[in-house]
Symmetry: C2
Subunit: 559 residues, 2 copies
């Protein structure tokens, strides 16, 4: 215990809340089946690909007054993809339900993500092991990984490992891709008479795994609260010192849910939303104009400070940047075969690139600050593509705005002082101690996953709904994963996938930003959420996100 912080010591004692339906224990549940389901689109194709697991009903659980017995079951669990606060609690909930059902049940954890089940790397959990991880952040309990579990060979190897351990069910904790793969594995196990069930759990801080069936993915609540804490603190600093514009980039690769939620919690002066940039076909130039105008207007009011929130994925949503980067990827793959190019100084490389890109793209490339041009050349992924996530978008905007404000000053349109600070928040929030909401939600998801297993279901996602109500009113059940699928093109091939949820520009969440942003831009309406609290009044400790409250048409609490 020597390395535990005081908070950790206390959090280990926290007993997560469960939906009332699960409170009577895992062997006292009635399964309520709805009617048969269809996939959201492409029903014929999805049905063809999931012959055995398609069309199953949505299920929910009710507490039963009688107690059934439970056969012995060994279960394996996998953490897949990027960290999200609460993963440890999914495993703790699963473990508690499994041991409650029958103390002879065993829970195995596959190490290092999906590769663990393929390569047979695992641990067996016991009380002591689990107890050290209750209500903690991180995925370090068994590690995670990004191996995609999708080939025939991987499935066969997984089957062999499960058979060796006498495992009759696998729980996969992951995002949209991992849950798609969970459905494929479930179908393959049935088709091959493997007698192994597969259950998924909806994880991602990005918030883009949600739909009519999933209210929120776990981790989004804690991560956004952590970013909002930092943004709020910086806003208070900006409003005290009154000398800096803080440009804050927020993690979330494609969708802007995280940036949007953090903004609704803090009410900064400027918030960019990638989905809007794409739909409105905003050019980099028009974004610079939009931001520079707000900066200039605030300067006119004597305010040479402010806060701008930038979603991590922004660049790829600016049509001209996307086109230029695609052109650049092709060009560089040719140029870099030429060793004389590789040895050139950056300035010379820029000239060659400008001369060889298509005219429009060359113009975009040339307009970028040197730092960004260098980053475009520097960071390539294993496929030779520019790693857009490593481009410092926040500095790109700062540099271009600096130039623009200089021009505006010459024209008498700006009369202020622009000093800036750049920040990027992501790793700070992915492994925070889960909020009470995420601690409860994750524990319930894991507990409920075992209830689905215990009822013989496969190809289902563990589902807990009605999440803006107190935990006792939450509704536990299961969703056939195929129900959330459609066909999309991936790497040139049509594949069955769970649709990624982007920010809906006609939805109530974006509307709140849109309706308020002019006010927030000029009048300082900063909110200071402060650090996540675990022990205090319920309004401080147990509320979930503004996004979910708005989506559920709730009157906003705490906003």
């Amino acid at each position: 215990m020597k390395n535990l912080s005081p908070l950790q010591v206390e959090r280990l004692k926290y007993q997560p809340k469960l939906p009332a339906s699960l409170l009577n224990g895992i062997n006292s549940l009635n399964l309520i089946e709805g009617s048969a389901t269809e996939s959201v689109r492409d029903q014929e194709q999805i049905k063809e690909l999931f012959k055995n697991t398609y069309g199953k009903p949505v299920v929910t659980f009710e507490a039963a007054s009688t107690k059934s017995t439970s056969e012995i079951r060994n279960v394996g669990v996998i953490l897949s993809g990027g960290q999200a606060p609460g993963g440890h609690n999914v495993i703790a909930g699963l473990y508690d339900a499994l041991k409650l059902a029958n103390p002879q049940n065993k829970l195995y954890g596959f190490l290092g993500g999906p590769s663990g089940i393929i390569e047979g790397q695992y641990v067996e959990f016991d009380d002591k092991f689990i107890d050290e991880y209750r209500n903690t952040g991180g995925f370090d309990i068994i590690g995670s990984g990004r191996t995609k579990l999708e080939t025939q060979e991987q499935f066969e190897k997984s089957l062999a490992v499960c058979k060796k351990l006498n495992i009759s069910a696998v729980v996969i904790i992951g995002g949209d891709d991992s849950n798609t793969n969970a459905a494929l594995l479930a179908e393959w196990f049935v088709a091959n008479n493997a007698d192994i069930q597969v259950i998924g759990c909806p994880k991602t801080i990005d918030g883009d795994l949600k739909n009519d069936q999933i209210e929120i993915s776990f981790g989004f609540d804690t991560a956004t609260k952590t970013y909002a804490e930092l943004i709020g603190n910086i806003q208070r600093d900006a409003n005290s010192a009154k000398k800096y514009w803080h440009f804050i980039k927020i993690m979330g690769r494609s969708a802007s849910h995280v940036a949007l939620e953090a903004a609704l919690q803090t009410q900064p002066n400027i918030t960019l939303i990638s989905e809007e940039v794409e739909q409105e076909k905003m050019s980099l130039d028009s974004i610079i104009t939009y931001m520079s105008n707000i900066i200039a207007k605030r300067a006119n009011n004597g305010k040479n400070f402010g806060i701008a929130i930038i979603p991590e994925g922004l660049i790829e949503f600016i049509p001209e940047m996307k086109t230029m980067i695609s052109n650049l990827n092709d060009l560089l793959s040719t140029l870099e075969k030429d060793s004389s190019f590789a040895n050139l100084a950056d300035a010379e490389k820029f000239e060659i690139i400008s001369s060889k890109l298509d005219a429009d793209n060359a113009k975009v490339f040339s307009s970028l600050p040197t730092l960004i041009k260098s980053q475009l050349l520097m960071d390539r992924d294993p496929h030779g593509n520019v790693q857009v996530s490593r481009i410092e978008t926040e500095k790109l905007l700062i540099e271009m705005i600096k130039t623009r404000l200089g021009e505006m000053k010459k024209n008498g349109e700006y009369n202020g002082k622009f000093s800036s600070q750049a920040h990027f928040f992501g790793y700070e929030g992915r492994c925070a101690f889960p909020s009470n909401f995420d601690a409860d939600y994750c524990y319930s998801l894991g507990y409920n996953a075992f209830a689905l297993i215990n009822n013989g279901l496969t190809g289902y996602l563990s589902s807990v709904k009605n999440l803006t109500e107190p935990a006792k009113s939450w509704i536990a059940g299961g969703i056939p994963i195929t129900m959330m699928m459609n066909m999309e093109k991936r790497h040139g091939e049509m594949k069955p996938v769970i649709q990624k949820a982007l920010v809906k520009l006609d939805g109530p969440v974006f509307k709140r930003l849109k309706d308020n942003r002019e006010d927030w831009a000029m009048n300082d309406c900063y909110k200071f959420p402060g650090a996540i609290q675990y022990f205090g009044p319920t309004e401080v400790c147990d509320l979930t996100t503004v996004t979910l409250q708005l989506e559920q048409s709730k009157t906003l609490v705490g906003v």
Copy 2:
């Protein structure tokens, strides 16, 4: 109330704890005087400069059973310098004591720092105004500023403003320089029969305003806890993903107290301490060697991840860098008069600079990555000097380590994969909601400041000691500021100043790092402090820093 977060709503209700001696009320205090004091050094000179305020006794307060009456007093308060959590509570404590002493007393806040008293910009506080700021972070209640209050002309203007408002005492909340200036102003007021008292309060997140009389400056506790939260979260992420080295630069311009405290709370793999670098005359090269060796050894153990903490001021403590930058400042001031130089491309500038710097300095300059060379040329302060605080030291180290590891790989000394993430934390912590410790400490400092005023003292620092004990056992009193002074050279002139406290390399705080760092480097002893808690168990919510506990020879709690 529409913009208040749930935490803020609850924190407004928090009643800060006071030392038992102050609990009977401001009009029921006995003043206990110690014997006459001397300055820590240069007694003759300090005495000469502070003819009227030198040599006063240390004082403490005792609760009295009788109640005295208090004449009407108007007081002015100033926030000076960088933000630190708790500043609002100093003002709230001062206000409450002042109104308790006599409801007809008035408290004025000077706006925008020391310039407010010079220019006569002020507000008068009332209950409603103060109540909105209780237990909140930031200095936005009246703003702060960096004007130095030190010239005869400024003193005269301040006097005029005070006379106009019938102010008989001024409280200056600031760091070492601001408190030095408080002492000068106190002396000047006495020498000029102004009948205005001056009291200082010890503020700075940097932690370098401490000595035999001051146990800790306010804000250090909250800021370091905020940074430790983030470092802990990133450690958990690193230990889950197992693929990144995170280089985390921590604010704190000259001393490394903040980095050291954050490291003791989190136990990262590498912690650099500027004071050690200077004393051991470590070169940049030897720092790179030290860090690269740990990275290589961890890679040998299969660990291609880790956490390195870097104090913001590091560069200026590396002797060769300090010399080179000084040479560069001189050189650039000449070169930049030549407009043809200004128009050159960076690469050309680098060549000219390398050819004109002294040989040793040219070698250092040439060894730096391009990014850092550019930053050295780019960011200059109003005096034309390189702004060292804007150099991305964390990236400097990453780039040089990358190169070094490449060489080691060629020599068969390294066989790992080095992927890095760079972070800088500073603005995230300066305006956080004050921890219970800072909320209590600051409120007590402010309350006590009025007790000093009420007892007719001037040139004193508000002092609250015995801070590792529960608040009721804290000892309230006052320290003659001259007692903490010595003569130092500033801008070529000998001046009376309060000595800055650097990290003591022979002290118990640094010793704890030194004794453990080999273990922490290789074995992952990460601690996860989590977010600051305000409502939970006292071990989680009320403990102060590891630094203070070690300095007070306490058995560490919560470590």
